[in-house]
């Protein structure tokens, strides 16, 4: 998965989001070992210090575990991942709802539109 970094937001927050996505989508499965900071930084074409900062934050959030001798790995706790996933979904949805409200939609209307679209997709 290529790293895409936008220029108007801090790099480390974008790295966090992308690593989260890679965990959710299974690029990095539960319990798997992460590449070294240096390798990850090089792959993303960012400064190792910035990558380090992102990984430390992910560690605080409990998604990544650091072993004293053998580097970092993804947590084996599926609940942790589920929680982070739900949190990300909520953030995205609240952004979306805000925009819809700006366009003047009522909550019911929004739900109807979503409902119809999901039905369309199923066909």
């Amino acid at each position: 998965m290529p790293w895409e970094l936008k220029s108007d937001r801090p790099i480390y927050t974008q790295l966090i989001e992308q690593i989260e996505l890679m965990i959710f989508s299974g690029v990095y499965p539960l319990g798997s070992k992460l590449p070294s900071v240096r390798d990850m930084a090089q792959e993303a074409a960012v400064n190792p210090n910035t990558m380090q900062k992102a990984l430390v934050k992910l560690e605080e959030d409990g998604l990544i575990i650091t072993h004293r001798t053998s580097g970092r790995s993804i947590t084996e706790d599926a609940r942790m991942v589920e929680m982070a996933k739900t949190k990300l979904a909520q953030e995205q949805i609240s952004d979306f709802l805000e925009k819809m409200q700006l366009m003047g939609f009522e909550q019911k209307e929004i739900l109807t539109i979503i409902d119809n679209m999901v039905k369309e997709m199923k066909k």
């Binding site: 108007d8 937001r9 790099i11 210090n49 910035t50």
Partner: protein
């Protein structure tokens, strides 16, 4: 963290023209720092002062606590804005020269990078394009295990693909205790790899900040901020 480069009221005048004016600056170890400013802002002058190619009119500049001289040159790897290598030399001869000259030079690193960039070590410099020459020079500079790398316009003359490779080279070869200072005005190309930026204009430091702080506080890229600060 300790300081690798320090300027105290550093001033350099050329006749009546002040190129660097009372600059105070501290740069820590373990960072990649962008020295950013428009043409003629004093970037190269500061780097030359750090290499003892120029001496300050007043104030001082210290590398690891010492004035620039023989001792500091052992720990500083410098990429000048212009080439100083002999045109008639073959790349492998220059590598031998560097091995003799610098204790911390790793020839195997140099050969490795030459191979990746498809540069033949038997070629003479004078048969090479401007961009290839620049690549060779950067390879030489980054093949040292220095404490401070001073890169004066390292990406100016090369194409975007080679630029990416050069940035990768910088990332790969600097270690956690080393500091890389890159002077350039091609900001958007390098801002993702920078920890810290120093904006310089008319010989004075106008802003120092971490890249993430700029993006966080101003919601814009370093490149966009630069265009705003130095609007003509």
């Amino acid at each position: 963290m300790s300081t690798i480069l320090e300027c105290n009221d550093l001033t350099k005048k050329f006749g009546s023209k002040t190129a660097v004016s009372a600059v105070n600056l501290k740069i820590e170890r373990g960072q990649i720092v962008g020295l950013l400013g428009p043409n003629g802002s004093g970037k190269s002058t500061i780097i030359k002062l750090a290499n003892e190619l120029l001496t300050p009119t007043s104030g001082n500049i210290l590398i690891g606590g010492k004035k620039p001289g023989t001792e500091t040159k052992k720990i500083v790897s410098y990429l000048p804005e212009k080439t100083y290598l002999n045109d008639w030399m073959r790349v492998h001869q220059i590598i031998e020269l560097f091995s003799d000259f610098y204790n911390d030079f790793k020839p195997e690193k140099a050969y490795d990078m030459l191979k990746t960039l498809n540069i033949n070590p038997d070629d003479r410099l004078k048969t090479m394009s401007k961009g290839t020459k620049e690549k060779v020079q950067l390879i030489l500079v980054m093949s040292r295990e220095a404490e401070l790398y001073l890169l004066d316009e390292p990406i100016g003359g090369v194409d975007p693909a080679a630029r990416d490779y050069i940035l990768q080279t910088i990332l790969r070869n600097y270690n956690e205790n080393a500091t890389v200072i890159i002077s350039t005005h091609l900001i958007s190309d390098i801002e993702n790899i920078l920890d810290y930026v120093v904006f310089i204009n008319q010989g004075q430091v106008v802003l120092t900040s971490s890249v993430d702080d700029i993006r966080d506080e101003k919601g814009k890229s370093v490149d966009a901020l630069f265009r705003e600060v130095f609007k003509c």
